[in-house]
């Protein structure tokens, strides 16, 4: 166990192992994404109320789920880097922020596009949408703060603190936005009532959620590899890598 943790803290080992993981995980992810998209778009029946527009669910829900989970991945990595001073956790945290922000953006965009045929408007200040927007701002705050620091090690620590503060705040923000929405919600529209979902629609959705988790992992690893190269540019193993090509 300790030796594993020790290895995890070693950049060359991490670089090598992430390379071999990506070699099979990346194709698998792309395959799962493609399969899920084809399944969801072409082989499922349309929703009896929303018609075909509901097919956006196959990207909207996974993106939203993984974006939210990604914040906790980022905050956990940040906590590890602050408490145990593990440099690799720092790298992981930095790598998670742009991926999470991109997925949050995708969830917001697909949500807005889905809203037009369903509710007749692109944007409603619905509790979930507003919370996602705030999540996007929290992610962007981390990205912006990281870029503002010149000393990247300090940047990592600062972002770790910020993401932990965000973690404490996210439940409060969600609850308060939820409550705020219930206060202002007009009685005529209601989106939150979840209907049961038919298995024929559920299975492709589950596949897509898994695929998005795998996608997040892939992007995290790719970002970490690039970050590792940059941070370790002057060390022996990177020089050897550069000499040998890849």
């Amino acid at each position: 166990m300790w030796s594993f943790l020790h290895k995890l803290g070693s950049p060359p080992w991490l670089y090598a192992i992430s390379g071999s993981i990506l070699r099979w995980l990346l194709p698998l992810t792309l395959l799962a994404l493609a399969a899920g998209v084809v399944w969801g778009l072409l082989f499922t029946p349309p929703d009896f109320r929303q018609g075909n527009s509901y097919r956006i669910i196959y990207i909207h829900v996974p993106a939203a789920v993984v974006a939210l989970a990604g914040y906790y991945v980022m905050a956990t990595a940040g906590a590890i880097s602050l408490i145990w001073r593990m440099k690799m956790a720092d790298v992981a945290m930095k790598a998670a922020a742009p991926v999470g922000a991109a997925l949050t953006f995708a969830a917001l965009f697909t949500g807005a596009v889905w809203g037009k045929p369903t509710w007749g408007t692109y944007w409603v200040w619905d509790a979930r949408i507003t919370s996602m927007l705030l999540l996007l701002f929290l992610y962007l705050g981390v990205v912006v703060l990281y870029e503002a620091y010149e000393n990247k090690e300090a940047a990592g620590k600062a972002c770790a603190v910020l993401s932990l503060v965000g973690t404490v705040n996210i439940p409060i923000i969600y609850k308060s936005v939820d409550w705020w929405y219930s206060l202002h919600q007009p009685a005529s529209i209601k989106f939150t009532g979840d209907s049961t979902i038919d298995p024929s629609m559920l299975y492709p959705l589950l596949l897509m959620i898994c695929a998005f988790y795998a996608l997040f992992t892939c992007c995290l690893l790719l970002n970490m590899r690039a970050e590792l190269l940059q941070r370790e540019a002057r060390t022996g193993w990177v020089r050897k890598l550069a000499r040998g090509g890849e």
Partner: protein, 204 residues
């Protein structure tokens, strides 16, 4: 007190610092005992200030090695930590370092000893850079911390002030304290000066 008696006030082991791909020092190990005066020397950019900040505990990462601090310390950095809107007396009485609880008489005495008699109650922003420095140095007369870390204390100080400062350092060392000082000039003190030379591939 004989030098080297008892546990060291500060023990540094295997300090190694890399900045911007350049190794400033490596495997730097030393113990600072009571009754010792250390001078850290080195060219500009050799890592003197970085070393002092590591010893003080202001730098907590970005270097390898361990520093054990076993006594309260007094750190004087490049900045004087003197607020222009406060008078010298207030600056010392409410000092953010939280080191002591001094009476007005103590503070006036210390200010007089750094040559600021009559300036106790004027706003500090009317004072010169050297006088700011002196307000900061007055802490040396007030503070009872056994270990002093002084980073370039002679900057902006006139020749008389340098002599007084050297006398304070000598007295502190003789009284069982320890001083680490970074400076480019040779110290005129009547006690042994241990030298810690940075640069050119490590300490000697």
């Amino acid at each position: 007190m004989p030098s080297g008696a008892g546990a060291p006030l500060l023990a540094a082991s295997d300090l190694c610092l890399v900045r911007g791909g350049r190794e400033l020092f490596r495997d730097l190990s030393f113990d600072i005992h009571r009754g010792q005066l250390w001078q850290v020397e080195g060219a500009n950019g050799a890592g003197k200030t970085s070393l002092m900040r590591i010893l003080a505990g202001l730098s907590r990462y970005g270097f390898d090695g361990r520093v054990q601090r076993r006594a309260p310390l007094l750190y004087l950095g490049h900045h004087s930590a003197v607020k222009g809107l406060l008078t010298p007396r207030e600056n010392l009485a409410w000092h953010v370092s939280g080191a002591g609880d001094w009476s007005d008489a103590d503070i006036d005495d210390a200010l007089a000893r750094v040559g600021l008699c009559g300036y106790e109650d004027v706003a500090s922003h009317t004072l010169s850079a050297g006088q700011h420095r002196r307000v900061n140095l007055a802490r040396l007369y007030l503070c009872r911390a056994p270990l002093w870390l002084l980073d370039e204390p002679f900057t902006a100080i006139d020749r008389g002030g340098v002599g007084e400062l050297e006398a304070v350092m000598t007295a502190h060392v003789a009284g069982g304290g320890a001083v680490v000082v970074t400076s480019h000039q040779a110290l005129q003190v009547d006690c042994e000066v241990r030298s810690l030379r940075l640069g050119a591939g490590g300490a000697q």
